[in-house]
């Protein structure tokens, strides 16, 4: 079954960002196909230079980097979100790919289970 997760929170504002990511990992661990789209402020979760030491929280980047190890390779963001936040592509993790809004709509339509956090 294809599970699509739509995240829209930045990494450290609310624990749901982290716990929902754990849910996506658990889904993959149960041999389901998982795709994740990091929408709006969730694109900040994909920054390759985040350092959580100053907020005394476990770094989020560790889990994000572990996604391919769980066979989660469909990791996307919207290029509109990136541009409106003035984030350079070189600052995003290499395993995240930009998709268009129509592609996002297709992804939602094609998935068996869609959950947003």
């Amino acid at each position: 079954m294809h599970f699509l997760y739509l995240f829209s929170r930045q990494a450290y504002g609310h624990s749901l960002a982290r716990e929902a990511l754990d849910m996506a990992l658990a889904t993959a661990a149960f041999d389901q196909k998982v795709s994740i789209v990091f929408l709006e402020d969730a694109i900040y979760q994909l920054l390759n230079a985040t350092d959580a030491q100053s907020v005394e929280t476990k770094p989020h980047i560790g889990v994000i980097n572990a996604l391919p190890l769980y066979d989660i390779e469909n990791i996307y963001y919207l290029d509109d979100d990136r541009q409106s936040r003035a984030i350079s592509e070189s600052n995003l993790l290499v395993h995240a790919r930009a998709i268009s809004r129509p592609a996002l709509q297709q992804l939602i339509a094609a998935a068996d289970r869609v959950q947003s956090f």
Binding site: S15, E19, A20, D22, M23, A26, R113, Q115, S116
Partner: protein, 132 residues
């Protein structure tokens, strides 16, 4: 057509409306002859299982309402273990394991893992989350 629902509750009682809305939604679908595969309490939603919650007398005790619904319809209420332990919602077994004095998980709830939510998503016809 009768549908089977998987319900995810991520909002905590008394802070926002979502857990009460989830309760009302569950009652409404049961009334309409649909079924509930499982109700999974995740993130702040695990507070719904805290039996120590003691609201003023003129306010509804949300954990008690979940318990009553569970008992009446034999529902499967599961709280996520990692969410619950972080937030101090704990059953007798986990209290012993972590050497914690006292336990507060309300009767009618069970502690489980995220695998049980994935299982519910696979087996239900509809997946709905309550929480901001």
């Amino acid at each position: 057509m009768s549908l089977c629902f998987a319900i995810l509750v991520t909002g905590q009682p008394y802070s926002d409306q979502s857990s009460k809305t989830a309760l009302q939604f569950c009652k409404a679908i049961i009334e309409r002859q649909h079924s509930i595969y499982r109700i999974f309490f995740f993130n702040d939603g695990v507070h719904c299982a805290n039996s120590f919650i003691t609201p003023p007398q003129d306010e509804q005790a949300i954990p008690k309402q979940w318990q009553a619904l569970q008992k009446e319809h034999d529902l499967d209420l599961v709280i996520c273990v990692s969410s619950a332990l972080r937030r101090g919602v704990i059953d007798q077994k986990e209290a012993q394991r972590y050497d914690v004095t006292g336990h507060n998980m309300a009767e009618g709830f069970n502690i489980g893992g995220l695998g049980q939510w994935v299982d519910a998503c696979i087996n239900a016809d509809r997946v709905i989350r309550f929480g901001s």
